[in-house]
């Protein structure tokens, strides 16, 4: 982003520097009052909105708006798998695609590129663990994800939307699966990074968690995280995921209430 000033803070891993007064102008990711660029506090999630049964001929579907990220998750299955598929468990496949207009620059390669394939495999692995696949031997479950608008990290909203779509489809799972990113900027842990915050070269973790069992499904880190702040970041990520879990549970309960006319 070319609005960032070149004289920004020193590397946050250096614990000996005092950060707040060392740099000139530019923009602060966290203002002096403690608010981020989009007006959130460091431990606040982005605006979360979910709607179910969007695609009525799919078995389960979920349209999710997480901040500026809008995506559609649909589940087909379980249906009869191919003859060479796993005899004892259901096979979960994932298909991820973006639209040409999901990011600010028109994107021609909407599926099949490296990032999409990595995401597909990651989600497939996560849900192979989370879903009770032993109850559906010799069958296949398809996950289709479509990003309508992207705001940096696609993986976390995808995982959350897929969980809700599975619940909408009525497929039993061991637990919810929630995912959130956490960063460390200006001596504070901030959760649920948007694109601007993610593009900073600051320590970041992506945590995928089963909240009620407290099981970590996946933990990815593609930056340098100093082990002194590691525990704090993990705690922040866990609390972020618990917040997400409450929001998701509330959405499911509301959907049930409207469906049962209670």
């Amino acid at each position: 982003m070319d609005t960032s000033s070149p004289t920004q803070k020193k590397k946050p891993n250096e614990l000996t520097s005092t950060l707040t007064t060392d740099y000139i102008s530019g923009f602060d990711l966290i203002s002096i009052e403690g608010y981020r660029q989009d007006g959130r506090k460091p431990d606040e999630l982005r605006h979360f909105r979910v709607s179910f049964n969007v695609v009525s001929d799919a078995d389960g579907s979920c349209y999710m708006e997480h901040g500026n990220c809008k995506l559609l998750a649909t589940i087909y299955g379980p249906y009869e798998g191919e003859s060479r598929s796993n005899q004892e468990q259901a096979v979960i496949t994932c298909d991820f695609s973006m639209t040409s207009y999901c990011v600010s620059e028109r994107r021609l390669r909407t599926f099949g590129d490296m990032k999409s394939q990595k995401l597909q495999m990651a989600i497939q692995r996560v849900f192979q663990q989370a879903v009770n696949t032993e109850t559906y031997p010799k069958s296949q479950i398809d996950i289709h994800l479509k990003i309508l608008q992207s705001d940096g990290n696609d993986y976390c909203p995808c995982v959350n939307a897929t969980t809700l779509a599975f619940i909408n489809a009525g497929i039993p799972m061991k637990d919810f699966v929630c995912s959130s990113t956490v960063g460390y900027i200006q001596n504070k842990c901030i959760i649920d990074l948007n694109q601007q915050e993610e593009q900073q070269k600051s320590p970041q973790l992506t945590l995928t968690l089963m909240p009620q069992r407290n099981d970590i499904v996946a933990l990815t880190c593609e930056s340098r995280v100093h082990h002194d702040i590691y525990n704090d970041m993990l705690d922040a990520a866990t609390s972020a995921n618990l917040q997400l879990f409450h929001l998701m549970k509330q959405a499911v309960i509301n959907q049930l209430k409207t469906a049962l006319h209670v």
């Binding site: 695609v55 639209t99 040409s100 309508l148």
Partner: protein, 171 residues
């Protein structure tokens, strides 16, 4: 509809919309010009189908017309240097300063199908699958037909085609 049939179908829709857009009588391409001979606007129309329930041709053309009518063209500052013939174009920073495109003359596509001798308009997915022959008309608000395309394996005689044209007109 899967596999290569889907690909062919979507390509056909793209082709018909392309034809409509690039026609100077339907869409005034000069409104996209910034500096004659130097710069012009490039417009991409991307349509994502969230749910297919039949009659995709018509729905896509309605969506395209609606989207183009709402398009905000950013305001530009153009410096045309007469002596050196250099042109510099700057996009205005103010997001509230924009121009709009004139799509009042843009035609929409209407598909008229034939099932068992009855002419159908705005078919659902089930009706689509039993329609043997259909004609897609591109029709302007003034009533003139600019585009016509026949689709499907069934045959239509002249009388049918004329009456289908009349149906589309009324619609």
């Amino acid at each position: 509809m899967f596999g290569r049939h889907r690909r062919q179908y979507t390509k056909q829709i793209a082709r018909s919309l392309n034809y409509i857009l690039n026609n100077p009588k339907c869409f005034d391409l000069t409104q996209l010009c910034v500096v004659k001979g130097h710069h012009c606007w490039l417009v991409h129309v991307d349509i994502s189908v969230l749910r297919y329930e039949g009659n995709l041709h018509d729905a896509c053309s309605f969506a395209m017309k609606a989207a183009l009518s709402e398009t905000k063209v950013p305001a530009l500052k153009v410096n045309h240097d007469e002596e050196t013939n250099e042109v510099s174009v700057d996009v205005c920073d103010d997001p509230y300063q924009y121009g709009v495109l004139d799509v009042s003359n843009l035609p929409v596509l209407i598909t008229v199908g034939q099932i068992n001798g009855v002419h159908t308009v705005d078919t659902t997915i089930k009706e689509d699958s039993v329609t043997l022959a259909r004609i897609t008309y591109g029709i302007k608000p003034s009533g003139s037909i600019v585009y016509m395309n026949k689709d499907g394996g069934g045959s239509l005689d002249l009388l049918n085609i004329r009456s289908m044209g009349k149906v589309c007109f009324i619609y």
